[in-house]
């Protein structure tokens, strides 16, 4: 083997290692970033230029409380920023127009995994007998399955879950129905642990009190998502928001 050849080979190895190192480094960085991203996915910090369902959540809340009058479109525009500033001023938060953890909290959402609107009570005269646990569990699945649906659609999802507990073909308890394998996508993939909004809690309560916008449905599905063809063999009762309901 000639010297020149050797050098060439060495050079080749060197390049190879460098590429590998860069590749590994990139992979490691990606992994770290991905994990970090997953952890931050809950109620990120929002500012001018942000977009997405989180922004929609803020806009809807500010609209409900009379701070924001623009469209609830998920785009953090100047108008949204002004509304946030107004809200912050009224709530003793530094009016910087950025929705951080303090502002999220004031809006009734927590930035962590827990909801601000749920405070466990210690037993008074009831000594622990309450239906708060059930309505909170139901609200979490409603939030997971129908966060972007209209209010009636949220109550409808709650009603389907409760209809299942009354059906012979499904487990007889609320937890049995919710945690049945493959029953609800948001439970299977863990998204139902998102913080619960006041609206979801209200929907859960009204569903538990008997409101059933679905006419006794046992299934709901989003036709724009891929669903098993079997589901279309159900008797369809109607559509609310983006969900089709059937039994």
């Amino acid at each position: 083997m000639g010297n020149g050849e050797k050098r060439q080979l060495n050079g080749w190895y060197r390049r190879c290692y460098t590429y590998l190192a860069i590749l590994c480094g990139a992979a490691a960085l990606l992994a770290i970033f991905w994990q970090g991203h997953m952890a931050l996915a809950q109620n990120a910090v929002l500012y001018w230029g942000s977009s997405g369902p989180e922004v929609k959540k803020v806009q809807a809340r500010l609209n409900g409380w009379g701070y924001y009058h623009g469209p609830i479109d998920g785009y953090y525009s100047g108008k949204t920023q002004e509304a946030v500033k107004d809200f912050q001023r009224n709530n003793g938060i530094n009016p910087d127009g950025v929705v951080g953890s303090g502002t999220w909290l004031a809006l009734g959402y927590s930035s962590g995994g827990q909801s601000a609107s749920y405070v466990p009570q210690d037993g008074g005269s009831s000594r622990g007998i309450t239906n708060r646990d059930s309505s909170y569990l139901l609200a979490r699945v409603i939030e997971g399955e129908a966060a972007d649906e209209p209010y009636v659609g949220k109550v409808a999802v709650g009603a389907v879950i409760l209809n299942r507990t009354q059906s012979a073909s499904f487990p007889g308890s609320l937890a049995g129905v919710i945690y049945q394998a493959h029953a609800f996508e948001s439970v299977s993939n863990g998204h139902y642990t998102r913080p619960v909004t006041e609206e979801a809690l209200r929907a859960a309560q009204e569903a538990m009190s008997g409101w059933d916008p679905t006419g006794g449905a046992l299934y709901f599905w989003n036709p724009s998502k891929s669903v098993s063809p079997w589901i279309w063999s159900r008797n369809i009762t109607g559509q609310i928001g983006r969900h089709v309901f059937g039994y």
């Binding site: 499904f170 049995g176 008997g210 039994y247």
Partner: protein
């Protein structure tokens, strides 16, 4: 110089590879542990299911020869428990949507049927010939189910089948593409259960209840325009605002209806109201207003008055407030219909009131329309004083004593005297049969922050 650079990138590369390898190994290890734990959980559920179904088969065969009341009651109560447990375990096994519904239903109905028969036996009525034949049929079904489960068990035992693979298979959607052992076995099992006849008896899961017609809905069909104006006339308006009924959807289901979307004009505070009007008779089944609710300004008493006035204004006469629940800024009031002074608990209407302005934001009457009618209520055979004597001597501070019609099973309503009493701090409602003095139902009243619960 050049060599040093070469060495540096080599070491850096090696360190990264080692770190990544270590990380990957740890991840794979953790995944294996989790998978084993999950699989064990499924196996446990499956083996318990097998045991419970086997017990069911034995108990069902015994009910066929049991004759004595005491023994029969014991067998049926056990059967109810075994079926209930089997149903719970089946719910734990990760089968895809709809694959096991028939088997699930079989288990629920066996339990429910046993429960109904047990109650009948306690009342001193032995099972009829027809009930005996039904039990025999259920027995043969349980043998088939038992056999099939043992068949699957042998696959599980020799490792040909792991239940956790069902989870991943379903997620990947492979179910459609090729036959899968686990799914196939379970599917065969569920197919065998298809031959099961409809089961009609006096329990909540009886087959005849699915197509029960609502008793309170009569009259002619209405069209979409009529539904629109009906809905507009029903809602609780705020101030002098204009409301517009926008879209009308049709909704099938047990009571076919028109669903009317209403918005205030101009739209404010997300005020969007949906109401369902039955196609027959044009009755309002339910109504929901999704506007955000501001700070609490209205007391629970005046909110309750608002709810009662709203109902009276919509033609619901003789309604009696029963209890209420509070959810943050929303209060939900329950009203029962009355007839000749008798409270009709099956005919319930719920009204929710926003505690910021006192506006009625929700209305629900499907129970009411399902069961409301002019009933023939015969005069009670027992007097109030006679019924009161039937109460437990341990009950203190007894009050009440109004007549109430309560639903004991989906098909029977019983006339009772309603008493309230307490034992220490615990408050109870006791319902004494107005004809034979039997204690029909015992409810405990719990005062919570969210309102009054009866359990």
């Amino acid at each position: 110089m050049k060599d040093k650079k070469w060495m540096l990138s080599l070491t850096l590369g090696l360190v990264l590879v080692a770190a990544l390898g270590f990380w990957g190994y740890r991840q794979a290890d953790a995944r294996r542990t989790m998978e084993a734990a999950l699989n064990n959980k499924y196996q446990r559920a499956f083996y318990d299911l097998t045991t419970h179904v086997q017990n069911m088969e034995v108990l069902l065969s015994k009910t066929l020869v049991g004759q004595e009341t005491r023994q029969d009651t014991f067998l049926l109560m056990n059967l109810w428990q075994e079926a209930d447990a089997a149903q719970k375990e089946l719910g734990q096994i990760p089968v895809p949507d709809g694959l096991m519904t028939r088997t699930m239903k079989y288990l629920t109905q066996v339990g429910d049927y046993a429960n109904t028969l047990a109650k009948q036996t306690i009342d001193g009525k032995p099972k009829t010939d027809e009930q005996w034949r039904t039990l025999r049929y259920l027995y043969s079904q349980s043998s088939g189910l038992n056999e099939e489960l043992h068949n699957i068990e042998s696959h599980v035992a020799d490792g040909r089948l792991t239940l956790s693979e069902l989870t991943t298979q379903t997620r990947k959607g492979l179910r459609k593409e090729g036959p899968q052992l686990a799914n196939n076995n379970l599917q065969t099992l569920d197919k065998k259960m298809q031959q099961f006849p409809t089961l009609i008896y006096d329990g909540p899961f009886s087959d005849h209840l699915a197509d029960k017609k609502p008793l309170g809905i009569t009259g002619d069909s209405i069209n979409a325009d009529q539904a629109r104006s009906k809905a507009l006339g029903f809602i609780d308006r705020r101030g002098n605002k204009d409301y517009v009924a926008n879209v009308v959807h049709t909704q099938k289901g047990r009571t076919p209806s028109y669903q009317v979307d209403i918005t205030s004009c101009p739209v404010r505070e997300n005020e969007r109201i949906t109401a369902a009007i039955s196609r027959q008779g044009g009755n309002v089944l339910w109504m929901l207003n999704s506007r955000a609710i501001g700070d609490k300004k209205v007391s629970l008493e005046s909110a309750g008055d608002r709810a009662a006035k709203f109902l009276a204004g919509k033609g619901f006469k003789n309604m009696q407030s029963t209890y209420h629940e509070v959810q943050d800024r929303l209060a939900i009031y329950n009203f029962a219909a009355t007839q000749g002074g008798v409270v009709l608990y099956p005919d319930l209407v719920k009204v929710s009131v926003a505690l910021d302005t006192g506006q009625v934001v929700g209305f629900e009457a499907s129970n009411y329309w399902d069961s409301h009618r002019d009933r023939k209520i015969s005069a009670p055979r027992l007097t109030l004083a006679q019924a009161r004597k039937k109460l437990s001597p341990h009950l203190e501070g007894v009050s009440g004593g109004r007549l109430a019609l309560i639903p004991l099973s989906p098909d029977t309503e019983t006339l009772t005297y309603e008493f309230k009493g307490n034992l220490g701090k615990d408050v109870f409602l006791v319902y004494i049969n107005a004809d034979n003095g039997r204690e029909e139902r015992l409810l405990r009243v719990v005062d919570t922050e969210e309102g009054v619960l009866t359990v």
